[in-house]
């Protein structure tokens, strides 16, 4: 036992004295702490965006109520008033940003046709987005494996090539020695992972709930997969350079090629013409109504809202109830295309989730996004919540529109508050499939490595 510990210490010393390893550790720790800090900033940015939506609404309401005569009909003021719909983000969202760079979770919507407002996006700089995002999840999923490869590709071959293999075999059994060398590397990588994760936990306010637990487990399993793969390849009799090329080639295939190829295939298999279709239809559906009788528009409206079908709208004067019913007609015209649009996106998401299970880094990354609720599924759930909010606003204001209520008779404090989208799925459902896939993949590469690497290294 003592001898083994001494060997472990010696190996650790040898590892950390290498300039290459030292530089890599420093770089990884620096980037790790940076991304952890950035994660906290991301959360703050999301929070201040939600505040901006809320105060923007309050300021606008105050301005409108103070600048319009108190007898103005509510419908006129509602034309200008955009209600906030801020979706709070999970602490994990700072670390696994997913699609939050392009999507806003703090939409503001008016009582007008919703389909024209629902697809606003974040003020993203396309050039930065094209360069790629860097968060802690990407660092640990995409870059850390290269460090693992660098530490392990010559686990055995370096001893053999250096002529020390026969010597060290005198002191310990090869398998045990391999386990020892591996252990020291696992410790080093574990430290490189633990530091930024701990920093992130304090900066991003990460509490160790089920979601964070699954996230840590997935990162650990994914790291384990790369160790298994490296061990499988490195324990064979190939040269160091062959090992390095095989492992880096595998990294490129799993981390760059497979995701890029799957993304392209997904886009080709599931085209989304509905996005443009619904835009055209909503605009046409609303504006056509100006050239129709008011009764015709109202009939369509009453089909969707039978509870108001006893109200009447005069044919020869402008009324706000009719105006918003025309807007509703726009949404009605786009309804089919909009549903088809959501269906395609859900298909894309489901397809990506299924295929990702075959590619360990993808499985881990997509599962982290699901745990952080920053994936496409979460975005669609948010849009659904905004839809429901729009309906609640209509329910609240339509009686006022029909009654032509002046703004001073509306209870502005009683306006429905946005109810955020519930989390689409529990932590276990989000994390379990990927975790299983990672465990299976690890077993597979270990077994394949043992079989393919030819005679064992002893």
């Amino acid at each position: 036992m003592r001898a083994r510990l001494r060997l472990l210490r010696l190996d650790m010393l040898r590892l950390t004295r290498s300039t290459g390893v030292g530089v890599a550790v420093v770089l990884l720790l620096a980037i790790g702490v940076y991304t952890a800090w950035r994660g906290g900033r991301n959360i703050e940015a999301a929070e201040s965006s939600a505040v901006a939506a809320e105060t923007g609404y309050q300021d606008q309401l105050e301005y409108l109520l103070s600048s319009y005569p108190l007898t103005t009909e509510a419908g006129e003021v509602l034309y200008y008033l955009a209600f906030p719909a801020p979706q709070p983000s999970l602490p994990l969202a700072g670390l696994a940003r997913g699609r939050t760079e392009v999507e806003t979770a703090s939409l503001r919507i008016r009582l007008l046709a919703l389909e024209g407002q629902l697809y606003e996006h974040e003020t993203v700089n396309p050039r930065l987005a094209a360069a790629g995002d860097l968060d802690l999840a990407f660092l640990l999923i995409a870059l850390l494996p290269l460090f693992i490869i660098a530490l392990t590709y010559d686990l055995v071959s370096s001893e053999r090539e250096g002529g020390t293999w026969n010597l060290v075999r005198l002191f310990a059994r090869p398998r045990r020695l391999l386990a020892l060398k591996l252990a020291s590397r696992v410790c080093l990588v574990g430290a490189v992972v633990a530091v930024p994760v701990t920093v992130a936990a304090s900066l991003a306010g990460l509490s160790l709930d089920g979601r964070a637990g699954w996230a840590v487990a997935l990162i650990a399993l994914h790291t384990g997969f790369w160790f298994a793969l490296c061990l499988g390849v490195a324990s064979g009799r190939r040269s160091s350079t062959a090992n390095a090329m095989i492992l880096v080639g595998t990294w490129v295939a799993l981390t760059l090629l497979a995701p890029a190829a799957l993304s392209l295939a997904n886009a080709i298999l599931h085209p989304v013409p509905e996005a443009l279709e619904l835009t055209v239809r909503q605009r046409q559906g609303y504006h056509e109504a100006w050239d129709m009788t008011k009764d015709e528009t109202m009939q369509g409206f009453f089909e969707d809202y039978p509870e108001w079908s006893d109200r009447t709208v005069p044919e020869d004067v402008f009324t706000w109830s009719w105006y918003y019913a025309m807007n509703h007609r726009g949404d009605r015209a786009a309804r089919e295309a909009s549903a088809a649009y959501r269906d395609v996106l859900r298909e894309r998401e489901g397809w990506a989730r299924r295929w990702s299970l075959l590619v360990p880094p993808l499985a881990a990354q997509l599962a982290l996004d699901r745990l952080a609720a920053t994936d496409l599924g979460a975005q669609l759930a948010y849009q659904d919540a905004v839809r429901q909010h729009h309906e609640r606003l209509k329910t609240y204001f339509y009686p006022h529109l029909f009654a032509a209520t002046p703004i001073n008779a509306v209870d502005w404090d009683g306006v429905p508050v946005f109810e955020p989208a519930a989390l689409e799925e529990g932590a276990t459902r989000a994390g379990f499939p990927a975790a299983t896939a990672l465990v299976l993949a690890s077993i597979l590469v270990l077994a394949a490595g043992a079989r393919l690497s030819g005679p064992r290294a002893d």
Binding site: A52, T104, L107, T123, A267, I268, V272, R348
Partner: protein
């Protein structure tokens, strides 16, 4: 004689690559990927372009088919424009995925362009995209490393370097030969993508592509890959063993192609954060509230405008004006709101340019970033193309709205204003929208830093090879002496 020696070494290098089954396998893989990327990206770009053209035609038809309408009605009906991608978008889609696709032009407000590939993509997108440009810029360097990391070091390890020197080859000839040999293999890997791109662009199926743009792309990627060839041979000649040369080159690739671009983008975003969409919207609202509201005729801004008009036409009430006062209010209001929107938009774009400058500095460290930047500029898919579309669409919007306001002023009587309609023949008088892509020269002029980065990427390893030449001679002498 010198050239012959160099060519002999080059042939020797190509021969040793041919014998290496890993490298041959990688070559096949890179070529296959390149072809798949060209075909896949072409297919995707073509179906996108077809969709946008189809809906654009539909919108134009709907515009002409409008019934008789009041001009202010049409101001709200507005117009929809779809961003056309540049012909070379199939080669390098640039920033297109992150820029909106459809933009609704209407009176009183500036909308943002919605939809786009990135909005419809899953979380996979962050690992990158499979496009001809990304195969060339990201994967080919790794292949060059695989083909050349052992070029000099293996000769040294086997003792054949001494042999070559003894046979009369100078260090310069050996290094030149290694560069030529590795470069030939790299060219072989890049050729299929180049040919496929040329065939598609030349066929005219994607739209007119100028020879200048094609030559520009060829030059950029040739220079970029040449830099990788030089760096690879340099590392191989400097490092004691092939193993450490390979490890060092892979580390360089990871840092330059994966880490620095993302880190640069992240830092740029942290140093100059953009206002969020919600914050931006609130700013626009605040600015608009300060000047007044064209829908509200009692607003102070419009009251002073009314007094000005009454004085100019020497009448006492707006009913007596020879022009339609409602149309005047709408036109002046539009001028004010457009200016405010444009100011806010300019702030936003300036914020983006500040971020871009930091990314350009990162491009000095990462030739990958500089190359991608130049590549999208030459392909016509860079941020300036997106901004040009936005600015041109806004100019079109403003022109459209003000023409309608002018019709309102001249053709519609003030009395009983809203009940009147303009005959539908007027709709055909409006110009249609077409994007004018920014010229190639302009796109490149703003990228001096990226061009400098690419030049340095070749110059620095060349200087390094000069040093390596002297060392190589010593290696030969030392070995011979020992």
């Amino acid at each position: 004689m010198g050239l012959r020696n160099a060519l002999l070494v080059a042939r020797r290098q190509v021969g040793s690559v041919r014998e290496d089954r890993y490298v041959v396998f990688l070559l096949g893989l890179v070529i296959a990927l390149g072809v798949v990327a060209v075909l896949g990206a072409r297919h995707h770009a073509a179906s996108e372009a077809e969709q946008r053209a189809r809906y654009q035609a539909m919108v134009e038809r709907q515009w002409l088919e409008q019934p008789d309408r009041h001009p202010h009605r049409v101001i709200h009906y507005g117009f929809l424009v779809f961003r056309e991608e540049a012909p070379l978008a199939f080669f390098d889609p640039g920033v297109g995925a992150w820029a909106g696709t459809s933009l609704f032009l209407e009176g009183h407000r500036q909308n943002t362009a919605n939809f786009g590939d990135a909005r419809h993509a899953t979380g996979m997108l962050r690992f990158g995209r499979l496009t001809p440009a990304s195969v060339l810029a990201l994967l080919l360097p790794l292949f060059v490393v695989a083909a050349g990391f052992a070029s000099v070091s293996a000769e040294r390890e086997r003792g054949t370097l001494r042999l070559l020197l003894a046979q009369g080859a100078t260090p310069a000839q050996i290094l030149a030969g290694k560069v030529l040999g590795t470069g030939a293999v790299a060219a072989l890997a890049a050729l299929p993508i180049g040919v496929a791109t040329l065939v598609i662009a030349g066929s005219g199926a994607v739209g007119p592509v100028s020879a200048g743009r094609m030559a520009g792309l060829a030059g950029i990627y040739a220079a970029y890959l040449a830099g990788w060839v030089l760096v690879t041979v340099l590392a191989s000649s400097f490092r004691a063993s092939s193993r450490s040369a390979l490890a060092q080159l892979i580390a360089v690739w990871v840092v330059l192609c994966v880490a620095v671009p993302r880190l640069g983008a992240s830092v740029a975003g942290a140093v100059h954060p953009l206002p969020s969409r919600a914050e931006f919207t609130a700013r626009v609202e605040r600015a608009l509230n300060e000047v007044g509201d064209s829908h509200n005729p009692d607003d102070p801004f419009f009251r002073s405008l009314r007094d000005e008009y009454l004085a100019r036409y020497e009448v006492v009430s707006i009913e007596e004006l020879p022009v339609n006062w409602g149309g005047v209010v709408s036109r002046e209001g539009e001028a004010v709101t457009s200016r405010i929107h444009e100011e806010q938009q300019r702030d936003l774009v300036e914020g983006q340019r500040r971020q871009d400058r930091i990314l350009s500095l990162a491009g000095l460290l990462s030739p990958y970033l500089a190359t991608r930047d130049l590549s999208m500029a030459v392909s016509g898919t860079g941020p300036e193309a997106v901004e040009a579309f936005r600015a041109q669409a806004e100019a079109h919007r403003y022109d459209l709205i003000q023409r309608l306001n002018d019709l309102h002023i001249s053709e519609i009587h003030y009395e009983n204003d809203r009940a009147q309609r303009l005959p539908r023949e007027h709709w055909a008088e409006f110009p249609t929208f077409g994007t004018r892509p920014p010229p190639l020269g302009g796109a490149l002029a703003g990228r001096a830093l990226a061009l400098a980065a690419l030049a340095l990427w070749i110059l620095i390893p060349l200087l390094g090879l000069g040093v390596a030449r002297a060392r190589l001679a010593r290696v030969g002498v030392e070995r011979a002496a020992s």
